[in-house]
Each structure stands twice: as C-alpha cells, then as structure tokens.
C-alpha cells in the first residue's frame, strides 16, 4: 500500500518515564501482554515505567454501555491523573484502546467546555480530597512501542520472516475503533490508513495485508456483545472480516485493542464450531497476536512466557514459520511449573481437511 498520508498524522510520544494504566480485558485474557510490555520497556529498552497498583478501571465499558454517567467517568479519570501526579509522573500511557479513547475524549471535552473540568475538579476533591494536573503526554501503549520500534528492530532476535521461504510474513493489522476513529489526529497515521501497527510490522520485516474490510469493526462494539441478544451481530462482524481477509492468506492478525484481540481470536473458534470453517492455512485458524506479543517474539521472548497458550487459536503454526524454538510440553505449565489445565480439542485447531477455507465456495 502506498499509504502516503500517515506522515501527516504524527503525534508526540514521550521517550521515557511513563505512568502505566492497565486494561480490564487485557489483564484477564492476555495477562502476559501487559507483563511483557513492562519487561520490554524496562529491561530491553531501559526506560522507566511505573505500574501503579492503586489505579482502577477507567469505567469505559460501563460508560459505553450507558451504565456509568459522564460525570462519574470524568471523576474516575481525574483520579487516575491525580495518582500519576502523586507518583511523580507526567506521561500517561494506557494499555486499553477504549481507555485511551476515553482519556482523549475527556481531555478534549475539558478543553472545549472548561466548566466540565472545573466541576470534575470539585467532584474529585469532594470524593477523595485529591487534586490533579493533566498529563503532559498521553499515549496508547502501541504508540510507545511504535515510538521505540527501530530500537526494537536493532535488538531483534527474530524477524517477521517466513523461515521456510525467506519471504516477509503477511500480517493483517486491526487498529480498534477507539484508537483513532474518534480523534483521528491522536492516532499515528490517522483513522483511514493508521500506521501504528503497520509501522511496527514493516520495521520488523513483515508485510501488511490491505483487504476490503480492513476498517470494519471486529464486532465487539460493547453493546453488540454485552447485550446477549446482540451477540449474533457481534460474530457477524468478525465473520465479515475473516471472510474478507482469508483469500490473502495472512500468517497472523495483530491487534491494537484488547477487545479486538479477544473477539477475532475467540469467534474463530465459534465460527469453526458453527459452520465448520477455519480461515488460516491447513485447516487451522489465523493466530491473533497482541502487538506486545509480536514485539516479544521479535525480541526473542519464549512464547509461553508471553502468555500465548491463552489464545483460542493455536499459535504453533506461526511459531514454526518464524523459526521460534519452543517446548510443546511446557505450553500449559504456569508459574513454578504448575499445570494450568488444557483446553478441549477444537475444530479451529484440528487441521481438518474439510474445514479449510476455500475461496471458490464463497464466490
């Protein structure tokens, strides 16, 4: 893709000293990703990052589901900023796309309607006795990895190259709606041709796949999923994307948003069970990675240390393609070698001949 416009959307990302806000979804479904982000920043890149146990959910899920009112979420966000100030930091980085969207939206709201900021300050003070300063720099954690992508490339132990063919791996990137669709100028590359993940993939040797439904929502969409009656709509969106990307034979999907990683991964299991289709090669699903996992693999981390055993779609076909050495027997061993349980065999990982996606049958 020519993607000439991404340079028009540059954002300033702090180089060091980050206050880290975790993600509700990611902590539960991809806990290894958050850990490896902290490790990459502090151990591989030598940067200072503070993982504060005092911060809470941003309440974004409740806000987007009409459970949490605007004034409440403003006060919660103000508290996060107060905690950042108290810890001595100015650069706020959030692990969750929705949180990033919330922080961006509320900072813009306070800018446009200063009376709302004033009211938030009063509310925070009344509730907690705290005061806050707004962050000097706000970035999503993918922005931070993007910012350091060349340094990561220099330290790379592996590239996003097919070890069998020497060709670049074909990667589908999915940005997540709340990263730049609301405030395009706050995302690297804007909303139409975002570059934050594409930049990482290109710097680390891979090749981006542009496909018809690239911009389409993954299907999470909060109410699509949280309201049980809407879940068919949720899976229909993921299905639309997977059908659209499958002919390009991507080697993996990399996601920016915790929700997108979860739904593009787990709905593949459901679709395989429902209609017997898998979208990867050789009758398996397409592995779905977080960008921290992608960076971790490039930097030589062990896939099980990255938490990749938590994925619904097995990642081994990708690891083999990348030439990653791993111990199959250690896959389900947690900390201290404790067995964490093994999922049931599922069609999405079965390599069944009849489940292989065939372009012709879709036409």
């Amino acid at each position: 893709m020519k993607r000439s416009s991404w340079t028009d959307y540059q954002k300033e990302v702090a180089d060091d000293n980050y206050y880290y806000a975790r993600s509700c979804i990611r902590q539960n479904f991809f806990p290894g990703s958050e850990k490896v982000f902290l490790d990459i920043l502090s151990k591989d890149l030598g940067r200072n990052i503070f993982d504060d146990p005092l911060h809470t959910s941003c309440t974004g899920i409740g806000y987007h589901s009409d459970v949490v009112p605007l004034e409440t979420i403003m006060t919660v966000v103000a508290r996060q900023f107060a905690l950042m100030n108290e810890a001595g930091y100015e650069n706020f980085t959030s692990s969750c796309i929705t949180s990033f969207g919330i922080y961006t939206e509320l900072l813009a709201t306070w800018e446009e309607f200063p009376e709302t900021e004033e009211r938030t300050r009063e509310n925070l003070y009344k509730a907690t006795g705290r005061e806050f300063k707004k962050p000097k720099n706000l970035a999503h954690t993918s922005d931070v990895i993007f910012h350091h992508r060349e340094e990561i490339a220099r330290k790379a132990k592996r590239k996003l190259i097919n070890a069998y063919t020497g060709e670049p791996l074909k990667v589908v990137e999915h940005i997540g709606c709340h990263y730049a669709k609301i405030f395009p100028k706050k995302g690297v590359g804007g909303s139409e041709f975002p570059y934050v993940l594409a930049g990482m993939v290109e710097s680390w040797g891979g090749e981006i796949v542009d496909y018809p439904e690239r911009r389409h929502c993954c299907g999470f969409g909060f109410r699509n999923y949280l309201v049980q009656a809407n879940r068919g709509y949720s899976i229909a969106n993921s299905h639309k994307k997977l059908e659209s990307m499958a002919p390009y034979k991507p080697d993996f999907i990399v996601c920016n948003c915790p929700g997108c990683s979860m739904f593009l991964d787990k709905w593949q299991y459901t679709i395989a069970e429902m209609d017997g289709t898998t979208y990867g090669q050789n009758g398996t699903g397409i592995p779905v990675l977080t960008y921290e996992e992608m960076a971790g693999l490039v930097l030589g981390y062990d896939p099980w240390e990255l938490g990749m055993q938590m994925h619904q779609v097995n990642v081994e076909p990708l690891l083999d393609k990348m030439g990653v050495e791993y111990d199959p027997a250690a896959k389900y061993l947690g900390r201290n070698g404790k067995f964490i349980g093994r999922p049931e065999q599922a069609l999405v990982n079965s390599c069944a001949e009849e489940s292989i996606y065939k372009t012709s049958r879709r036409r």
């Binding site: 020519k2 000439s4 416009s5 139409e192 542009d210 496909y211 018809p212 372009t359």
Partner: protein, 336 residues
Amino acid sequence: MKHVIVIGGGVAGMQCASELLRQGLAVTIIEKEQDLGGKVRNWHKLFPTFTPADEVLSAMRHRLKISNNLKIRTGCQATTITANSVTLCSGEELKCDATVIATGFTLFDAQIKEEYGYGIYDNVITSAELEQMFNENNVHLAHGGTPKRIAILHCVGSRDEKVCQRHCSKVCCVTGVKQAIELKKLFPAADVFNFYMDIRMFGPGYEEMYREAQTAYNVHFVRGRISEVSPTFNSQLQIKAEDTLTGRPLKMSVDMLVLLIGMKSNEHNITLRNECNLLAQPSGFMQPQDSFIGNVTSNVDGIFYAGTITAPKNVGESINEGTAAARAVIEWLNKH
C-alpha cells in the same frame, strides 16, 4: 492610453482583456502558468453541448489578436495588487489605471478525503485526471485494460463541513453526467454509476442531458455518498455507500472510481484579503460589492473581479463575467 492589468489568463481574464482591447485600451495579462487558458486548457469537452474545450480556447485566443496593445506576462504571479499597480513575485512593479482579478479557483485536493484512497489506490482518479485521459484518448486502468464498472462520486470537497468546504461547487453534478455519457460512449458495455447527494441541474440543457444519460445511455444514479473505498483481492475497488432512497447500505466492486473534485478558493485570496484590503466570503472566495448589480466590482475602488474568483461558475458564466468586468472597468475609467 489607459492601461488595465488583468491578473489571471483563464477564460474570464482572456474575455475581459479582449473586450478592453476592443475598446482601445492597453492591457497586460499576468498569468502564473506558461500559457493562457486556465483550467479549461485541461478540459476535454464542455457540457452540455460537448463542445471541445480547445475550440472555445482557440476562439478566445483569436479574439486577443484584435490589437497590438496587449502584453502577456506568463510564468509570473502577482503578489500585491492596488488599483494603480501590481507587484509581481519578482519584485517588479507594473503601473496601471485599473486592475481586474480573474485568478479563478483551486481544485480540491482529493487526498484530504482519505477514505476514498486517492493517491493510494491506483484506479481512484479525479474528474480532472479523467478529462486528461479523454484528451489523450487513453482512458484505461492503471495496469492496462478497460474498465467494465465505473463509479463517479459527486461532491468530493463540496458541501462537506468535515473539510471546511461548505459551499456547492455548482458544476460537478453536470460534469458527472457529462463524464458518465463520455465513458458510456467509449465503453458501451460498461456499467457507470453516479453517487450523488442532490442532482443540481441549474443550466439550460443540463436537465435534458441528465435525462438522456439515463434513457439513452443507461447511466445509473444512486442517491448516497460513498463512505469508504478498499482494494479487493482481484484488484478492484470495493465501495461502501448508503442508498438513501431505499434506506439500505450498499457494497459493490468497481474497476475505476472517479472523484468529482470541487472548486476551492485560492490560498492567494488570503493575501488579497490581508494585504490588499479586499473582502472575502466565509467560503474563501472574494466578496463582490453586490450580488446583483455590482458582482464584478470589489470593495476597493479601481479593482474588479471576473470569473470564479468570487464563486464557482461554469465556463459560459465566467466568460460573461469577463465581458461584464471589462464594461465596469471602462465605465469606471470614464468617470476618473
């Protein structure tokens, strides 16, 4: 002999100059390009009569040969303009008795509407580029071959608050109809779709051409704007839109997408406003003294307007304004 400087050598400027010459005045035309003719130089045929643009320009060039009192300065731009002098970007100052500003408009940069993928996907082209292809008799897809399915999107950079272009560019609707017919003449088997918000057929013969496009050429018209463009596996373009007449979303693949880019005010109008004390409209186009009886007169005595410097207009209207501006100049000079 009174001397008038006409800034801009497009059709309005050329017509104004030829009228002034006919009345025995000395005229200097200042044109930033290397040749006269303005945007019309790049057009193929003019609506609604399909008159070759070259024919119109040749006639206008011929009219300028009426007198030896014409000087043409091409390849240079005016910076400061008063009623009695024009300073060129070289620093040279030219004296005169009145000035006419006929610097026209700028074509909207389609890359700003990123969702259409102009500059990214090869077969997304602008209406201006299609005119160029018509001129070269070489309408083709980027990697060869002829298009079998073509979409034409109206209002790209017009009536669009998101890109701060709230005004209607007026001529894009009829250009879309004209280009659709020309495409059907070239590729009778092709399907041509026009995606529009409103079809504004304001001129004589336009409505008839719009009907003819449907009845004689089977051009399809879909009321809805395209929301995004993506590539398909077989190198087509997938477009998404809403058909607002049926109230349903629509998705289709086409071989070529033509963006009908609108008319935008020139960046230079800001200089005219800030440094020459001329008034501009919120759209950025210059503000004539009056919309009815003073539409070629500026708010500064001795400075006049002709053509699309004040608003989007078609070629015929621009030429008429050239004549009107020349007459207003002569009337003003006779009084001073």
